[in-house]
Symmetry: C2
Subunit: 187 residues, 2 copies
DNA sequence: CTCCAAAAGCAATGAACGTTGCTTTAGAAG
DNA sequence: CTTCTAAAGCAACGTTCATTGCTTTTGGAG
């Protein structure tokens, strides 16, 4: 895997179409389109609706694919300041700013609305768990007391996403409070 | 307000229609209907679609109304066991069981999917905040150390809703862990 | 260079949705 | 009991979506 895009070769027609579709979905969500449908996405992407119907089972599948792509694209740089306290705070603030953007919060809401029943994994949660694990491992390697990954997910990640998804505002001070709180559970 | 239903008199036609519509929405969500539309709800409720279009601005408004009604209907009995630890645990378990039901989690997801932009309040959060406030006030009155309402919201309510809304399973032990965690922040 | 399979485009169709003017009915007021 | 207003029903319309058979194009293999 030497190229950033998954699937077929980057120059192929399929890849071009997929990129155009992803971009179109991104634009529509950024603009606040209330209803994402194949015909609308297709027109924006300059491709035929039939192509979308054939390639993706439904809109939810497309949305999930776009979300995962966006997540993995810019979820690689983790803070490494020195203390777990600062690293966690920086990390939480990055998440907060990320999902506070209208475009991203709409992704999330659209994804949630499309979800159904129980899934034993969720791309968002999985990524955050993996990141939290790296942060905590580094801190534990330095001999610091660390909370569990589950605690970080429950007490830092969850509140941030919860508030955003339900349309409540979150400021930086609040995010900082969350990381301070969770560190009090580290023993 | 002596009757349980809001609005017009309980015997009127409007009330009958509203109840039928609410019940229809409940049934559809319970059955896992992927798409809630006015025509579908109307047929289930035995009323004319036009009535729905005239009474509610859109499906989102109807969903929110139903959710609020369901919330206020059975959100009145709070535990009063004696210690904050037990009360919080009982309360969290009630919430967990409530929103773990497929019907209710679908309500929530549908509500989230319909939401847009920032709202400075959310019926779900408001109710939970009010309940948490009562619990904490009672404990404070008994002289117990208590966390803040915000902390309870962030560290107990948020994780529960987050996991359910994103389709992850939550068991009773997990809920209990959350309340134990938040009590360590009470000083 | 030629060939070929996979993918995208095109066109047509049926269904469901959202909306609007008009009529009818329920139920409260006098 | 009669009257009157607000709400529900009815019917029709245009729009958009989802789906399917067929044709055309792309871009890699031989």
């Amino acid at each position: 895997m030497t190229d950033q895009t998954t699937g077929s070769r980057p120059g192929g027609r399929s890849s071009r179409v997929r990129e155009a579709v992803h971009a179109a979905v991104g634009e529509l969500l950024a603009e606040g389109a209330e209803r994402i449908t194949f015909p609308v996405v297709a027109e924006r992407a300059g491709v035929n609706p039939t192509t979308l119907y054939r390639r993706w089972s439904d809109v939810d599948a497309l949305l999930e694919e776009v979300t995962v792509a966006a997540l993995t694209r810019d979820g690689e740089n983790l803070p490494d300041g020195g203390s777990l306290s600062e690293d966690l705070a920086t990390w939480a603030e990055t998440i907060r700013r990320d999902i506070s953007r209208p475009a991203r919060s709409r992704y999330l809401r659209a994804m949630v609305g499309a979800r159904d029943g129980l899934a034993d994994s969720c791309p968002v949660t999985d990524l955050r768990a993996e990141q939290a694990g790296r942060l905590l491992a580094a801190a534990a390697g330095r001999g610091e007391p660390v909370p569990t990954v589950e605690q970080v997910l429950d007490h830092v990640v969850s509140p941030l996403y919860y508030r955003i998804v339900f349309g409540l505002d979150v400021d930086a001070a609040h995010a900082r409070r969350l990381t301070d709180d969770v560190l009090r559970m580290a023993t």
